[in-house]
């Protein structure tokens, strides 16, 4: 008998603390699988986010650093510059990467840091109780947009991937969705490409994952997956951006 699947070595066997249907568990696992497949577990240094995934390092079984809210790419820059031989990635939510950390994000990208960014976009702030994110869809109801996001007062969903794509040193950006088996396979492929780029010294690579947050979207896990496909992808189209 041939063994065709096993628990990734880079993922600890701990019980999840995430809500049912949350995308973080899936994203953690995809990263762990990619790290195993590329054989970089002993070289990788992850930078964990602030937010629901703050204890990502309790799941991954490799070296990790925390970072203050929004500062992951500054911390990762420090790590990667002094240890260019290591593989460094940040794992950041939409608040982290597209609100408080916008400056760090744009400038790390524009310096062309040879770092991999995993950008979790669930269009909402999860840990703090479902407030509006920069990526919240127009009309979407959140704790701080109870009537739905009004673009006249709260602005439009921020398309960080498209914004970064115009920067010369940014080498690879792809948006994928954690919404169906086929999309998840594409997501894993994109994550693998982004890490391979770093191994090959290509430069700044980012994968944006549209990720479900059933709890704060007020949906069942199944409805949340449908909402990604039917609503979120209209605002944030899937595919290679750069």
């Amino acid at each position: 008998m041939t063994k065709i699947y096993s628990h990734p070595k880079s993922l600890r066997g701990v019980t999840t603390h995430y809500c049912p249907g949350c995308g973080h568990g899936m994203a953690h696992k995809l990263i762990a699988e990619v790290v195993d497949e590329l054989g970089i577990r002993e070289k990788i240094i992850g930078v964990a986010p602030v937010g629901c995934a703050v204890i990502a390092y309790d799941y991954w079984d490799f070296d990790c650093s925390e970072a203050a809210h929004g500062r992951a790419l500054a911390v990762a820059t420090g790590i990667k510059r002094v240890r260019p031989q290591n593989i460094v990635f940040t794992y950041q939510g939409d608040g982290d990467l597209a609100a408080i950390g916008t400056a760090e994000t744009i400038h790390a990208a524009n310096r062309g840091e040879n770092i991999t960014v995993i950008f979790m976009n669930n269009a909402i702030y999860g840990m703090t109780g479902g407030q509006m994110a920069p990526t919240t869809i127009a009309g979407q109801k959140t704790a701080t947009t109870p009537q739905g996001r009004d673009v006249r007062t709260s602005g439009y969903p921020l398309k960080i991937s498209e914004m970064l794509a115009v920067l010369e040193p940014v080498k690879y950006i792809e948006r994928v969705g954690l919404s169906s088996p086929s999309n998840i396979i594409k997501a894993k492929k994109a994550i693998k490409q982004a890490f391979q780029n770093q191994i090959d010294g290509v430069g700044f690579s980012l994968v944006e994952l549209l990720s479900p947050c059933p709890t704060y979207w007020g949906m069942s896990p199944a409805e949340a997956l449908k909402w990604i496909d039917e609503v979120m992808t209209k605002e944030f189209p899937l595919g290679r951006i750069k």
């Binding site: 204890i55 925390e66 990762a76």
Partner: protein
């Protein structure tokens, strides 16, 4: 030993390089710009890394990353920029990461001005960022001491796994004096860093963190930090004293202010007034011991602020002697004459 003429800012940079600093990130702000420029040139000559960051916040977080990865790392700024760095300083303290942070103080609050001041004393010694933490704070009063204390700062940061601040003012940063920079490469204290993030080859994964969610864990961690601080208070307190044995009045001052106070003491002695000087070198841990034996004396604390260190002197004296204060700030510096007049008023 060769003497060179160099500014305080540049002396700090040279000391950092000689201490094995391999990573510097900073953002321009007056009056410390010569240090950023010096590092841009010198650290790269020695194979280190220089980054002009997009902000002070980014710089301190780059230092966090470089330090977590095991490198000797430094950033520098001046008062408003240090305020921005406070978030990162708290995180460095929380993750027990070594780093050297240079504050060449200017006038405040707010944008203030670019004149020298000492009005960030509270911020440096009492926390500044959030949480129960301390920095070792070293206050140079000459270009030579700016050099010497910077090399010491790197060693202390590594030994105690914590951020150390060099607290100078615009005069210390900008004035030029002869410096005996060690001609041979100074012996770098090689502190093992088994906690560093290097990739988990052959060991369990390391995590640089300050987040403790489980009940009781954070309190336990904080008690550990407090124990470390207690140990530092016992071992690392530094000060200099002059003419204190027979003094009827002792001036207390640090940094540039101590130079002016020292000249005032010399003049007062000529005028037959028995004055002395205590000059704290570590502002935290504060040299409490220096104030115990001379309880017969009165104290006059002079600062380029409106009274910050004077509170620590009062705590150290603990009601056993009178403590007077003379301070100016916002571009004003107490003069030798003002100090002498004040002393004569007191005695």
């Amino acid at each position: 030993m060769n003497k060179i003429l160099i500014s305080g800012n540049e002396a700090i940079g040279e000391a950092a390089v000689q201490a094995g600093c391999g990573f510097y990130a900073g953002y321009p702000i007056t009056p410390q710009n010569e240090l950023t420029a010096y590092m841009a040139k010198r650290i790269t000559e020695t194979g280190g890394i220089f980054i002009q960051s997009e902000s002070e916040i980014s710089a301190i977080n780059m230092v966090f990353g470089a330090s977590a990865a095991g490198e000797r790392a430094m950033t520098s700024s001046s008062s408003p920029g240090i305020s921005l760095k406070q978030e990162g300083i708290s995180y460095l303290a929380g993750a027990q990461l070594p780093a050297v942070i240079v504050n060449i103080m200017r006038g405040g609050p707010g944008l203030g001005n670019i004149a020298p001041a000492q009005s960030d004393y509270f911020q440096a010694t009492k926390g500044g960022g959030h949480g129960d933490y301390r920095l070792i704070v070293l206050a140079p009063y000459s270009v030579q001491e700016a050099f010497d204390l910077t090399t010491l700062a790197f060693d202390l940061a590594d030994i105690y796994r914590m951020p150390v601040m060099i607290l100078g003012d615009g005069i210390i940063g900008q004035m030029m004096e002869p410096l005996e920079a060690k001609s041979k490469k100074r012996k770098v204290k090689n502190v093992e860093k088994p906690w560093a993030l290097t990739g988990c080859k052959g060991r369990k994964p390391n995590i640089a963190r300050s987040f403790y969610m489980k009940e009781g864990d954070l309190e336990k961690f904080n008690l550990g930090l407090q124990g470390k601080y207690k140990k530092i208070e016992g071992k690392e307190t530094r000060w200099e004293e002059k003419y204190v044995d027979d003094a009827r009045i002792i001036l207390v001052a640090y940094g540039t202010m101590a130079r002016i106070a020292e000249e005032a003491v010399k003049q007062l002695r000529k005028d037959k007034i028995k004055a002395g000087l205590i000059r704290p070198i570590t502002l935290w841990p504060f040299p409490v011991e220096a104030f115990r034996p001379a309880k017969r004396a009165r104290y006059l604390v002079t600062e380029m602020s409106y009274g910050q260190m004077v509170e620590d002197v009062r705590l150290a004296v603990n009601g056993k002697a009178k403590v007077e204060f003379l301070g100016r700030s916002g571009g004003g510096i107490p003069t030798q004459e003002q100090i002498i007049n004040k002393v004569k008023d007191i005695v």
